[in-house]
C-alpha cells in the first residue's frame, strides 16, 4: 500500500511539474532585442580571438571600428577617419580622426591607439592583420587626432587593406598583452558592446550609447545571438519566430519554402565565394595543359548551377574572377562545354581507348584512373563531384570520388596550409572565401608559381609575368587591365576549373527588423545593416509572438491520433480475458 501511495505521489509530482513547465509563458523578447541565430561559436570576438571569416569577422566589426569601412558596393570609405590626404608620391598618408570617439569603457580613441594597434599587430602573429600591415615604414602622431603613415612604396590598395580591414584596439587594455590569442576582453569602439558571451550558447550585444559617428548610430538596443549549429533547427527557429535572422546561407532547397513562410523575407545577391575543381598540376598527366583543358571542356557549369544550386548561383567563369568584380574591366571569358573537343584533345596527347571498354589508357598503354577528393560533410560538393565524375567518364576518363573528413582532405591537398610542403591528390572539390575575389593581389597568390595559395603547384611563366605586374601597380586604375588579362590567361591555362559562385541568400523576419542591407559579394550580416542614420537609439518593433494557431492544427491532430491509438491498445488489453 505504501508503495502504491509513493508511486501515485511520484506520478502526481511529475504531472504537476510537466503542467507547470508547459503552462509557463513562452518568454519572448522584451521589445528592443533583435535575435540573430548564428551557426558557429566564434570565440571571444577579439581581433585575435574570432574563429571564421564569416560570421566571426562581421561580429568583430560590430564591436570594433576601423579607420575606413567598406560601403555596400565594397569600396573603402572613411569611417573613424574624418578626412585624409595622400602625398603625390603615394608614400605618405595623413589621416585625421573624428573627435570624441569613445571606447565602450568610456575612454577616448586617439591617434595613439591607432599607432599602438598597427605596431602591435605587426609584432603579434595573425595571418590577416600582420600581412595587411606590411610595407609600413613609420607611423607618427603629431596630435591626438592626426595619424601620419609613411610607406616603403606606394600601395594603391592601402585604403582597402589595412585601413578598412584592421580593427583599432584600445591601447590601455592591450598594452602588456603578450599572448593575444588567449586574451578575451573585447572592448572596442564599435556601435555595439559585447555585453555577454556564453560559449556554445549565445552572445549578447548592447548598443554603444556614445557612438562617435555624427550620422550613423546603432539601430537596435540589444542584439542576442543564440548559437544554433544545426541548419534545420536554425531555419525552424526562424520560421517559428524564435529568431529574427539566420546568419547561415539558406540552402537552395529551402529558399522557396522560406519565401512562402508567413512573416519571413529572403534577400538574395551575388557572393564572391567560389567553388572550384582544383587540379594538382604537379602530377602527370595534370601537368599537361591539354589534359587540363580537356577536363574543363567536359564540365557543363550551367548544369551544375541548375542541379546542385537549383539555379541560385552564378556559373563559374573560367578566368576565376567573378563577373561582377570591380576589378574586371572587360567581360571575362565564358565557360565552354564541348566534350567532343575534350575527346580530341585527349586523343592528341595519346590518351586512347585501346581495350574498347569505353575508358582511355594513358600514352604508355596502362589503365588510367583519377580521383576527386571532397569534404564528406558537404553534401552539395559530394553531389557535384559525382556529376563531374560522370562527365569525365563520358570523355573516357575513369574517375573515382573519394569523400573524406575535411581535415583529412586539407592535409592531402594543402598539408599544414603551406604550399611548399607538397601535395598528394589528383583533383579536389575546393572553395575560396569572398576575400580572395576582393583583393586583386590575392589573385596573384592563387596562380603565380610562387603564390602562397597556389595549392595545385601550377606554374606558367607567362602567367607569372602578368601576375607580377599587380605588384608594381601604383594606382587603383592600374589593376583593371592586368586582372582582365590574367583572367584570360587563367581561362586558357586552366590551373583549376571554376564551377560556380553560390548566391548569398539570407532569411529574416522583417517585422522584427527591416534594416538589412545586402553588401555586394558579402551578404546582409554587416555593420552597415545594424547602424542607422537616425540620431537616437530607436526601439525595434516588438518581436513576433509564436506562430498563429492555424499552424498548430496538424500537431493537435497528431496528438489526438496518438491518444486514440493508446485508447484502442488499452481497450484491446481489457477485452482479453484476465491471466489465469
Amino acid at each position: 500500500m505504501v508503495r502504491t501511495t509513493t508511486g501515485r505521489a511520484g506520478i502526481l509530482l511529475l504531472a504537476s511539474v510537466t503542467v507547470l513547465v508547459v503552462a509557463a509563458p513562452v518568454v519572448t523578447a522584451a521589445g528592443t532585442e533583435l535575435r540573430i541565430g548564428t551557426h558557429t561559436d566564434e570565440g571571444p570576438l577579439t581581433p585575435y580571438g574570432y574563429t571564421f571569416g564569416y560570421p566571426g569577422l562581421q561580429l568583430v566589426r560590430l564591436t570594433y571600428d576601423s579607420l575606413f569601412i567598406m560601403d555596400r558596393e565594397r569600396r573603402p570609405v572613411p569611417w573613424l577617419v574624418r578626412e585624409y590626404e595622400v602625398s603625390e608620391d603615394g608614400k605618405r598618408w595623413t589621416l585625421r580622426l573624428h573627435e570624441g570617439i569613445k571606447f565602450h569603457d568610456g575612454s577616448d580613441l586617439t591617434s595613439a591607439d591607432v599607432k599602438f594597434t598597427y605596431t602591435y599587430m605587426t609584432r603579434h602573429a595573425h595571418a590577416v592583420w600582420q600581412r595587411a600591415l606590411r610595407g609600413i615604414e613609420a607611423i607618427e602622431t603629431p596630435d591626438p587626432f592626426t595619424v601620419e603613415v609613411r610607406l616603403a612604396a606606394p600601395q594603391p590598395l592601402f585604403a582597402l587593406r589595412p585601413l578598412a580591414e584592421v580593427p583599432i584596439l584600445p591601447a590601455h587594455i592591450w598594452e602588456g598583452v603578450t599572448d593575444p590569442r588567449a586574451f578575451t576582453d573585447a572592448t572596442g569602439s564599435g556601435p555595439y558592446r559585447l555585453a555577454e558571451y556564453r560559449p556554445g550558447h549565445f552572445y549578447r550585444f548592447e548598443a554603444h550609447p556614445d557612438y562617435f559617428h555624427p550620422e550613423w548610430k546603432p539601430a537596435v538596443g540589444t542584439i542576442v545571438m543564440p548559437i544554433i549549429p544545426d541548419a534545420t533547427t536554425l531555419f525552424t527557429a526562424l520560421r517559428a519566430g524564435q529568431v529574427d535572422m539566420a546568419t547561415r546561407v539558406v540552402p537552395p532547397e529551402l529558399v522557396e519554402e522560406l519565401r512562402q513562410a508567413p512573416g519571413v523575407a529572403v534577400q538574395r545577391g551575388p557572393s564572391f565565394v567560389s567553388t572550384l575543381l582544383q587540379i594538382n598540376a604537379e602530377r602527370e598527366p595534370f601537368d599537361r595543359v591539354e589534359f587540363r583543358r580537356a577536363l574543363a571542356l567536359a564540365v557543363d557549369v550551367q548544369n551544375l548551377v541548375d542541379t546542385i544550386q537549383l539555379g541560385y548561383a552564378t556559373a563559374g567563369g573560367p578566368g576565376f574572377v567573378h563577373p561582377m568584380s570591380a576589378w574586371l574591366l572587360l567581360p571575362g571569358p565564358e565557360a565552354q562545354y564541348d566534350p567532343d573537343r575534350a575527346r580530341s584533345l585527349l586523343e592528341g596527347i595519346g590518351f586512347t581507348d585501346r581495350t574498347g571498354d569505353g575508358l582511355r589508357e594513358d600514352p604508355a598503354g596502362m589503365p588510367f584512373k583519377q580521383t576527386i577528393l571532397v569534404y564528406a560533410d558537404r553534401a552539395d560538393r559530394v553531389r557535384a563531384a559525382e556529376i563531374l565524375a560522370e562527365a569525365f567518364r563520358a570523355i573516357g576518363l575513369r574517375t573515382e570520388v573519394k569523400a573524406m573528413e575535411a581535415g583529412t582532405v586539407d592535409s592531402l591537398v594543402w598539408p599544414e596550409f603551406d604550399v611548399t610542403k607538397g601535395r598528394d591528390y589528383d583533383l579536389a572539390m575546393w572553395g575560396w572565401s569572398a576575400g580572395i575575389q576582393e583583393n586583386p593581389l590575392s589573385l596573384r597568390e592563387l596562380v603565380h608559381s610562387q603564390g602562397s595559395l597556389n595549392i595545385g603547384a601550377f606554374s606558367d611563366p607567362e602567367v607569372d609575368q602578368v601576375a607580377d605586374r599587380l605588384l608594381v601597380a601604383t594606382g587603383i586604375a592600374d589593376f583593371g587591365p592586368v586582372v582582365s588579362e590574367l583572367a584570360r590567361l587563367v581561362a586558357d591555362r586552366v590551373p583549376f576549373v571554376t564551377l560556380w559562385y553560390p548566391d548569398g541568400i539570407y532569411a529574416y523576419r522583417p517585422e522584427a527588423y527591416d534594416g538589412w542591407v545586402y553588401v555586394k559579394g558579402l551578404g546582409i550580416l554587416d555593420k552597415l545593416s545594424l547602424v542607422t542614420r537616425r540620431v537616437e537609439v530607436p526601439e525595434a518593433a516588438p518581436v513576433a509572438e509564436p506562430p498563429p494557431a492555424r499552424q498548430r492544427g496538424w500537431a493537435w491532430l497528431l496528438l489526438a491520433a496518438a491518444a486514440g491509438a493508446a485508447v484502442v491498445l488499452f481497450g484491446l488489453r481489457r477485452a482479453r480475458p484476465a491471466r489465469p
Binding site: F52, P199, S411, R579
Partner: protein
C-alpha cells in the same frame, strides 16, 4: 582485502595512464593540422617566419616525445592547457559545459531507467498479451529511429506546432529572471532534449528489464511465493522485480560513466551548450588540448563509474559477496 584493493588501484592507474597516452597520440596521428585555428583564417597567406613562430608558441615544433613529457608535467600540476580554437583555458571551458551536459544526460538516464524498469516489468508480467506485444512494438519503434529524427519530430510537434517549448538553447538568453522563474525556464528548455534521450534510452532498459524479468518469473521461488498465497503485487515487486534488477543496474552503471560525454546529436539539434558538441568541434578543428582534456574527463568518469559498480555490486547481489568470501 587490502591486497585486492591495491591490485585494483594499480589496475586503474595503468588504465588511466594508457588512456592519457592514447588521448595524446591519437589526435596527433590524425591527418590535418590545427594551424588554421592557431593563426586565424587566411592561414595560407602566412609567411614562413610567422608560421614557425605560431608553431613554437604552442610547442608544436618540438619532437612528439618532448611534447608528451610536457603534457604529462602540466597534467600533474593540474594545468590542462589553452584551447587552440577558443583561446581560453580548457578547464574553464569544460567547467562551463559540464553542468549542462550532466543536467541533460543524467536526467534522461534516471528517467529512462525508471520508465524502462516499470514498463519492462509490467510487459514481462503480461507476457504474450496484446499489451506486452504492443508495448514491445512501440519500444522497438523508438529504438530503431535515429536520435536526430526523433528530435526533429518532437521539435516540429511540440515546439513549432503547439508552441509549448522553445526550439533551442539551455535558457532564454535575454532572461533576467531569478528563482523559480529561472528554474522553470531552464526546465522548459530541457524538456524536449530530455524527452528525446529518454525515449531512446528507456527502450534499452525496457528490453533488458523485460528479458531479465521473464527469466526470473520462470524461477521456482516465484512459484513458491505464489503457492504461499502471496498477492500478485508482492510477488511482482518483492520477489521478482528485485532479482531482475541486476542486469539493469549493470546497464545503468555503463551508461552513467558516459553521461559526461554528452549527447552530440541531441545537443546539436537543440543547440544545447553541452560537452558532446564541444568534443565534436574539437575533433574537427584539431584542438589537441581541448580534445585531450575532454577525453580525459570522459575516461575518468567511466573509470569512476566502474569503480562504483565494483563497490555496489556486492550490495546488490549477495552471491558476489559469497564467492569473494569463498
Amino acid at each position: 582485502m587490502r591486497g585486492r584493493l591495491g591490485t585494483r588501484a594499480v589496475q586503474y592507474g595503468v588504465l588511466i595512464f594508457l588512456t592519457v597516452a592514447l588521448n595524446f597520440f591519437l589526435p596527433r596521428a590524425m591527418p590535418g593540422s590545427p594551424l588554421a585555428y592557431l593563426a586565424g583564417e587566411d592561414v595560407g597567406l602566412m609567411s614562413a617566419e610567422v608560421r614557425r613562430e605560431v608553431l613554437a608558441r604552442h610547442a608544436l615544433d618540438l619532437p612528439l616525445g618532448t611534447q608528451f613529457a610536457r603534457y604529462l608535467g602540466n597534467l600533474v600540476r593540474g594545468d590542462l592547457g589553452h584551447s587552440y580554437q577558443r583561446g581560453r583555458p580548457v578547464a574553464e571551458i569544460i567547467a562551463e559545459r559540464l553542468p549542462w551536459t550532466l543536467l541533460l544526460t543524467a536526467t534522461s538516464l534516471v528517467l529512462s531507467t525508471l520508465i524502462g524498469v516499470a514498463l519492462g516489468a509490467w510487459a514481462a508480467w503480461r507476457r504474450g498479451q496484446s499489451s506486452d506485444l504492443s508495448l514491445l512494438l512501440v519500444v522497438m519503434f523508438f529504438r530503431s529511429m535515429p536520435s536526430f529524427w526523433i528530435a526533429v519530430i518532437l521539435v516540429a510537434v511540440f515546439a513549432v506546432g503547439l508552441g509549448w517549448f522553445p526550439i533551442y538553447g539551455a535558457y532564454t538568453p535575454w532572461l533576467v529572471a531569478t528563482g523559480w522563474e529561472r528554474v522553470l525556464n531552464v526546465l522548459r528548455h530541457l524538456a524536449l532534449p530530455v524527452l528525446s534521450l529518454t525515449l531512446i534510452g528507456s527502450a534499452e532498459t525496457f528490453l533488458v528489464m523485460r528479458y531479465a524479468m521473464l527469466d526470473v518469473l520462470g524461477e521456482d521461488y516465484i512459484a513458491t511465493a505464489r503457492a504461499k498465497g502471496l498477492s500478485e503485487r508482492v510477488v511482482l515487486y518483492k520477489h521478482a522485480l528485485r532479482n531482475a534488477l541486476l542486469p539493469v543496474a549493470t546497464v545503468f552503471m555503463l551508461n552513467l560513466g558516459f553521461t559526461v560525454s554528452g549527447a552530440t546529436v541531441i545537443e546539436t539539434v537543440f543547440a544545447y551548450p553541452g560537452l558532446g558538441r564541444l568534443m565534436y568541434e574539437a575533433v574537427l578543428s584539431r584542438d589537441y588540448p581541448l580534445l585531450q582534456a575532454s577525453f580525459l574527463v570522459v575516461t575518468l568518469a567511466v573509470v569512476l563509474a566502474n569503480l562504483l559498480a565494483d563497490l555496489l555490486y556486492p550490495l546488490l547481489d549477495p552471491r558476489v559477496r559469497l564467492s569473494d568470501g569463498a
